[in-house]
Amino acid sequence: MPSVQATPAAPSNTTQSTSISGSRAVLDALVAEGVDTIFGYPGGAIMPIYDALYDYHDRLKHVLVRHEQGGIHAAQGYARASGRTGVVFATSGPGATNLVTGLADAMIDSTPLVAITGQVFAHLLGTDAFQETDVINITSPITKWNYQVTDATEIPTVLAKAFYIASSGRPGPVLIDITKNAQLQLFDYKGYELCQHVRSYRPKPIVRREYIDAAAQLINAAQKPFVIFGQGVILGKAENEFIQFIEKSGIPAAWTILGLSAIPTDHPLNVGMLGMHGNYGPNVLTNECDVLIAVGMRFDDRVTGRLDKYAKQAKIIHLDIDPSEIDKNVKATVGVWGDCKETLPLLTQLVEKKEHSNWLQRFKEHDAEENKEVTFNELHPESPVLTMGEVIRHLNEITGGDAIIVTDVGQHQMVTCRYARFNQSKSNITSGGLGTMGFSLPAAIGAKFGAPKRTVIAIIGDGGVQMTLQELGTIMQTEINIKILILNNQFLGMVRQWQQLFHDKRYSFVDIVSPDYVKLASAYGISGASISQREDLHAALQTMIDHNGSYLLEVMVGKENNVFPMVPQGCSVSEIRLK
């Protein structure tokens, strides 16, 4: 192993060259890219990088996770809370394959990540060496870009390219696999240069005014225009541009699960959530609007329901930075290809100032009906058992909508996204496209590192929490302050709900047993409590939030409560059921 100098690498933009190892070049790249936190787990093939990291502890914080899946979900949480690129380290073989779920999750949810994996020595590639796995081919379909480095001289340019590709255009995960010999290799280092151009890659186009014009004409002629928005608004850092657009045009706006928190919940034009467990009005009125304006969203099947009965009466305007999304699921009348940070202001200039009060009133009428049938009872139940909705209502009262909420997957996720209140962007972090159970706990850890000044609450079901609860060890060791709220219905609730509704109540392997979470937390030095009574709820939540340090609160909720409304699979959005 080469000796590692403790002196910093030559700063960027100098022509002076020094001889450094590939490993140091990796870490120098991270420093130059402004990375402050790495989530990772060491192992044989990445040891030279970890050895070099020893000398970088003053510039790079490394969070030792308990499993590589936890590491990559933490990097995702970091990226989603901070708006910056998350970084994860893993060793070769099992370390790298443990990243797969997180890469797939980041790919489908467009999360900017750079994953760095160690690999066996280049001369051992393809020999079934110890901990060798073909990580490039395994991860090709679930990375925006990946590359194997076998020669250290490539490291500065490859890492610059990795950060550029991960964060530009439609963001996504990039994996760089570095063989051990390249990590050890000493080479003539000429400094680090940020990447600004890759000739085969156009992250965003020049906006064509003719489509802006065509879109504005449709909007100005519309009687019942309806805006639906996704995470593109957040990723494009276009929250203000978006609000200016809807406020001038007076168009009601509904969000996808990943678009949630892009505008404050109490914005008067916010009409709620789209999709399978979304709000009544946005779903029903999708099939009544005359112009549907989709901003930074991809018409996922959980949003559209049955496609051949989706908004057939409407002219569709689709704003997206990824041209392969336009016309993919829903044919656009006008496709506006571009960065919504640029396209929205152009559109705002051309749209007439309007108020669609009668049309907005229609959403309110539907909202009143939904409130009568579903929402009121969920938030103010008279039943003896607690509902998930009332837990979220009390949490809203305590946080005032200022917390980052990281949900897992299932019933608690739908209920939380429906009822949680948000005042600022990047506050809702959840696994949307992939639906990864086990996401929340590690992602909440990452979110806290990404936004250390904010309150971070992981809301998790009793199923999901048992998938990644080894990360309690990470919380213990890093001593970070996150709040873990387990909504325990003693079932894999969403699957149970489907079995009840669509499989004649044949509850096949959904009754899941939990450990004593309070004892478990205590074993990790984390305070906690478990409650099941309504009179304890508010105070218990207040204690959780006020506690100095991480805290676990388990709330026992109704075993067989269902999430409504619901668009049954294979049905049109207007066939949404309230009960």
Binding site: I136, N137, S140, P141, K144, W145, N146, Y147, Q148, I165, Q196, H197, V198, R199, S200, Y201, R202, P205, I206, R208, E210, Y211, D322, P323, S324, D327, K328, V334, G335, W337
Partner: protein, 195 residues
Amino acid sequence: MKQEYTITVYTENHIGLLVRIATIFSRRKINVESMNTSPSEAEGIHRFTIVIDETEEVVRKLARQIEKQVEVLKAYYNSNEEIIWQELALYKVPTAQIAEKVKVERLLREHGARAVVIRNDYVVFETVGHREETDRLVQVLAPYGLIEFVRSARVAIIKDSKGFHEKLREFEQSEPKAELVENEYLNQQKEIFTM
């Protein structure tokens, strides 16, 4: 309506890109009829020629998924009317049969076959043409003891293409000119949008 489409992809010459392109088809359970990779007219730029049998809508979406790959510069798709294409076929036939039967020699001549190798035991012929043409010779030779047959992937030239030199220069600019940023919504169907 399904029909044959030829997808032409200009790419960087990078290891791993073949898998990325192949999985775009296999993920959607679409059979690739033939795939050829070769250099292109532009130095350092690789050219894939892929033939599939699909509807225009599916092919258009596939072309966009291919273009989405970071190392792909451009993907075009064309119907058979829009391209000139050829496939190469090789046939191994026992020499005795050719020598004895005058008819075989005439048949080979009629099909434009050319002898590549002549040995005591067998002769290898080649033909170049469309699939129906190369297939027809297989039928013809079968009764005369055809030992081996192999056909290459399709290579195709796009009739309307002006080549890739100009485009490549454009890609190399970090700020492309607006008029060169194509967009299919301008109905430039022949030049699938990108950049």
